[in-house]
């Protein structure tokens, strides 16, 4: 069985369902814009301090939006009992997981397409290619870890509470590296080291989650 075909089918199924129902992405995009509006009023900043404050606001909004996006990825499957139907096929659990993580990451990227211009608007900071690359690289790692823990807690009643408790500590390396990369980029510096670190984290989390997916998804 072709694992890429399975992963693509799972991702396409999730994206099609989201396109038709529009349950998640519009609400998340609104949440992100509202968070930026509140931060815009909450922080006293000028053109000098904006590049220091904006990355923190960006990562706070992204982290909380990510928790919602990745939490829904498996909660919906559990609620409609479709995860078991998927697992009752010969498809590799790692391929199913990859498809779920890809779809969740793409939905968050759509929200980021709203977030980054909004950040530039509210904080008057420069959104360069480096900022976009850092956010995208961090999104990959966040999606992998977030979806793994979302799958783990999906069958637990207190999943909304447990997901942040499990996920946030492991997202810290991504936020540190991503925050550094964005801050340096907004200040006009070079961020090669932080970007390399983000790539390393993505590779590490990709390997770990691929190995763990089978044990997490199956009973």
């Amino acid at each position: 069985m072709n694992s890429i075909a399975v992963a693509w089918a799972v991702a396409r199924k999730d994206l099609t369902a989201e396109w038709r129902t529009r349950e998640l992405v519009p609400a998340l995009a609104q949440f992100i814009v509202l968070a930026l509006v509140i931060a815009n009023f909450g922080f006293q900043f000028d053109s000098q301090s904006a590049p220091s404050i904006a990355p923190g606001v960006l990562w706070m909004a992204l982290v909380f939006a990510g928790l919602v996006a990745f939490g829904r990825a498996f909660a919906a499957e559990r609620e409609q009992a479709s995860l078991e139907a998927m697992l009752m096929t010969p498809a590799a659990p790692a391929a199913i997981f990859a498809g779920k993580a890809t779809a969740a990451a793409l939905m968050l990227i759509v929200c980021e397409a709203v977030m980054l211009p909004s950040l530039a608007l509210f904080f008057a900071v420069n959104i360069s290619f480096g900022v976009v690359a850092a956010v995208l690289l961090a999104t990959v790692g966040m999606a992998l870890l977030g979806c793994l823990f979302a799958a783990m807690v999906a069958r637990i009643r207190a999943r909304e509470l447990l997901l942040p408790l499990l996920t946030l500590p492991l997202w810290i390396p991504l936020v540190v590296a991503g925050g550094t990369a964005v801050q340096v980029e907004m200040g006009g510096g070079s961020n090669d080291q932080a970007m390399a670190l983000l790539v390393d984290f993505d590779i590490l989390f990709l390997v770990l989650t691929s190995l763990a997916a089978r044990f997490v998804l199956e009973d």
Partner: protein, 214 residues
């Protein structure tokens, strides 16, 4: 050749004993009905036989191989209908079946066959979430036979089906080994050659051979 050979299958949920040392042999092509009151262990037994749940202890061979260690390979030969329909409500009937066809690695031609067999042609373009409960059950049955399995495990498949339901089930079970859980003794008589009665997780007596109704 026996399709299912189960030895001393026991399933515990904490201190609760859901299945207590069930022995079972189902021959290839045979249809077995599992009867019992609510909470007797029918669903648990069917989940174990479908490789959806690993038993606490006991041995299970399906088509001559160890069911748990070979479960992924076996799943291409097992069709399972559980209590919950497990569809994607935003996707149409055809899209739901296309998706599971990809996951099974089955031929796309099987989609039209499954839709035809289960009488879903008129609603093939309708989202699964907008189907009646009976039609959703037909979709679950279509998904179960999509990959042309040799073994069908059906948990109360007659639930929500209309008067044509038993005939539909008979057609789907034709040429396959099948284990169905039901409360309906008449349905069991009509569809199956043998029954296994469960009470509080235990098999009551020896599986009984029924009079086959043609």
């Amino acid at each position: 050749m026996s399709a299912i050979v189960a030895g001393a299958i026991t399933q515990r949920y904490g201190s609760e004993l859901a299945l207590d040392s069930i022995d079972l042999v189902v021959d290839g092509g045979e249809h077995l009905a599992v009867l019992g009151d609510n909470g007797a262990g029918k669903t648990t037994l069917l989940r174990v036989l479908a490789t959806a749940t690993r038993p606490t202890s006991g041995t299970l061979e399906i088509f001559g191989v160890d069911a748990w260690s070979e479960r992924r390979r076996l799943r291409s030969r097992i069709g399972f209908v559980s209590h919950a329909p497990g569809h994607y409500p935003a996707l149409t009937v055809t899209e739901n079946l296309e998706f599971f066809c990809t996951l099974h690695g089955a031929d796309r031609k099987r989609i039209a066959i499954a839709i035809g067999l289960t009488g879903l042609a008129d609603v093939a373009a309708r989202p699964a979430g907008k189907l009646s409960r009976g039609m959703q059950q037909r979709l679950a049955l279509a998904r179960a036979v999509l990959h042309d399995p040799k073994l069908l495990i059906l948990d109360e498949p007659d639930a929500s089906l209309d008067a044509e339901g038993p005939e539909l089930l008979k057609q789907l079970m034709l040429g396959r080994t099948a284990v169905i859980a039901t409360h309906d003794q008449a349905l069991a008589n009509r569809l199956c050659q043998r029954t296994l009665v469960l009470r509080r997780g235990r098999a009551v007596g020896v599986p009984t051979r029924l009079r086959v109704v043609h």
